[in-house]
């Protein structure tokens, strides 16, 4: 474990020094993410000018949900995004060999090697926005409930990672990631809307087979309605199943990998 932490420390140092070489991009990215936050908040603010409740939540609750979306996105963008974007290239060009011969888990190395230091400021901004939405909430939430919420949100991030990998790994067989990647990004829109607005079979799909609603919406629901064993079991069960499914798919993919000729 310590070996992995030390290795991750090297990844961080290298990523920060590289990010500072491309300063324009560094500031452009901060600007873009700031606009994205404003875009989301404005969307909900305008909606709530016309309705007191959306999916059963008030505007104050929706701002906390939006803060959770920002934090989950920032974690994904900062820690994983660059790495997973490069994965199809490594597989198709045979560059995966470099990672497979390392004396550490190939999945760890491939998923965490590049820390997007240019997104790190946005990660801090996301924390600030989530804190702001929690502080301005009119009723007391309690430190314990907030701690549980943060843990569930991190669990949601693991689920998001597993889902993204499940949509990426088929590149071992398909040799192109274009279609599945686009489908993932389309479906990921459901992560940014509260599960309470969905009804019928769409809702059932979004909490089971394509569990995008579990990533942020369920942790937020736990914050307001209290954590029940049913909700926790559902979130842990689906996340565990998705993660194990991803590991199984990864091992099958590695077996199908034929190095440079892949």
């Amino acid at each position: 474990m310590i070996r992995y932490l030390r290795l991750y420390g090297y990844f961080l140092r290298f990523s920060f020094s590289r990010a500072m070489e491309f300063r324009f991009d560094f500031f452009f990215r901060i600007f873009m993410d700031t606009l994205w936050y404003g875009h989301h908040l404005a969307f909900f603010w305008i909606l709530y000018r016309h309705t007191p409740l959306l999916g059963g939540w008030t505007m104050d609750q929706m701002f906390i949900f939006a803060g959770g979306v920002f934090l989950a996105d920032a974690i994904q963008m900062t820690v994983l995004s660059n790495n997973l974007a490069m994965l199809p290239n490594y597989i198709n060009k045979g560059d995966l060999d470099y990672y497979l011969v390392r004396p550490v888990s190939s999945l760890f190395f491939l998923s965490l090697r590049d820390f997007a230091a240019d997104s790190f400021v946005n990660f801090l901004m996301a924390i600030a926005l989530l804190s702001w939405s929690l502080v301005r909430y009119p009723a007391p939430l309690g430190a314990g409930a907030i701690a549980v919420y943060v843990v569930l949100l991190l669990l949601g991030c693991v689920l998001h990672y597993a889902l993204k990998m499940i949509f990426t790994i088929p590149v071992f067989w398909l040799h192109t990631s274009f279609g599945l990647r686009e489908i993932f990004w389309s479906l990921d829109r459901y992560t940014t809307r509260p599960h309470g607005i969905f009804t019928g079979w769409v809702r059932r799909m979004l909490v089971s087979v394509l569990p995008f609603s579990l990533i942020v919406s369920f942790p937020t629901a736990a914050l307001f309605q209290g954590l029940s064993w049913r909700l926790l079991g559902h979130l842990v069960g689906v996340t565990g199943a998705a993660y194990l499914g991803m590991l199984w798919l990864w091992s099958r993919g590695l077996r199908a990998y034929a190095s440079a000729s892949s």
Partner: protein, 266 residues
């Protein structure tokens, strides 16, 4: 002009040869966009009520129309093509051509519209069977013709507004973030996320003056019979005015950029 259409034709053939995953992802993207909008509308608009001048079905039709319009206005992103030409030094050969680089790229964008147009026709054909023609919406040959004109201007306006942003690649290592930022602003203030009638009344003059409305909401409003002929003429004049401003700005950025372009890539 013949060269323009020849380039557009080449690009169209290239784009239409995309494989099944492209079409599958397009269907999923359309379904997801519409699905999210559908449930937001259901949660917002009461069965018999109205919001922003729309009934529930009227607003659903608005979302279908604006999502399809956006496909034509955005075409398929050529954002990276322009920046890659600059980064990799491929721009050099275009500088030798006796035609403007911007015109060549716009021709390519028009050609890249082919799959989007096929998708729009396919999806539009399903709409009457699903939604019918909601109360208060009037689609006539005249409104369809007005919408077609507005979409053509919207496509040019979008290209011209994003062109100088793409040319930032002369100075910056990655202009992708700026293009994405533009997209966020355009979707919000263009009415793609929410009908502009839902925005506060104090913001309406500003929304009418900015170029984003004319990229998305204006053609849809024209199609649905929500603008009078006078409003249409005013809107088209504002859109064309913005096209002029963006073209002048693009020319300036292009001139400054090519002065420092080294042709060896970055």
């Amino acid at each position: 002009m013949r060269l323009f259409w020849s380039i557009a034709g080449v690009e169209a053939r290239k784009r239409m040869s995309y494989r099944a995953d492209f079409w599958l992802s397009s269907f999923v993207a359309f379904g997801t966009e519409l699905g999210v909008a559908y449930f937001i509308v259901l949660a917002m608009v009461p069965v018999a009520g109205r919001l922003g001048g729309f009934s529930r079905d009227g607003m659903l039709l608005y979302y279908v129309a604006i999502i399809l319009t956006a496909r034509i206005v955005w075409s398929l992103d050529l954002d990276r093509e322009i920046s890659d030409d600059i980064y990799q030094g491929a721009l050099s050969r275009y500088l030798l051509y006796p035609v403007s680089y911007g015109v060549l790229k716009y021709a390519a964008q028009i050609g890249a519209l082919a799959p989007a147009i096929v998708q729009v026709i396919l999806f539009s054909a399903c709409v009457p069977f699903v939604l019918g023609l909601p109360e208060g919406i009037r689609i006539t040959p005249a409104t369809a013709a007005m919408a077609l004109g507005a979409v053509a201007v919207a496509n040019a306006l979008h290209f011209l507004v994003t062109y100088p942003i793409r040319l930032v690649a002369f100075w910056a290592d990655n202009c992708w973030s700026l293009l994405w930022a533009h997209r966020l602003v355009a979707t919000l203030f263009g009415g793609l996320l929410l009908p502009l009638a839902m925005f506060p009344s104090w913001s309406q003059p500003l929304l009418n003056a900015l170029p984003f409305r004319y990229m998305f909401a204006f053609p849809v409003d024209a199609l649905l019979g929500r603008v009078t002929p006078v409003e249409y003429a005013t809107g088209m004049a504002i859109a064309l005015g913005w096209c002029g401003v963006a073209a002048v700005l693009s020319a300036g950025v292009w001139r400054r950029g090519t002065l420092q372009y080294t042709g060896v890539g970055m």
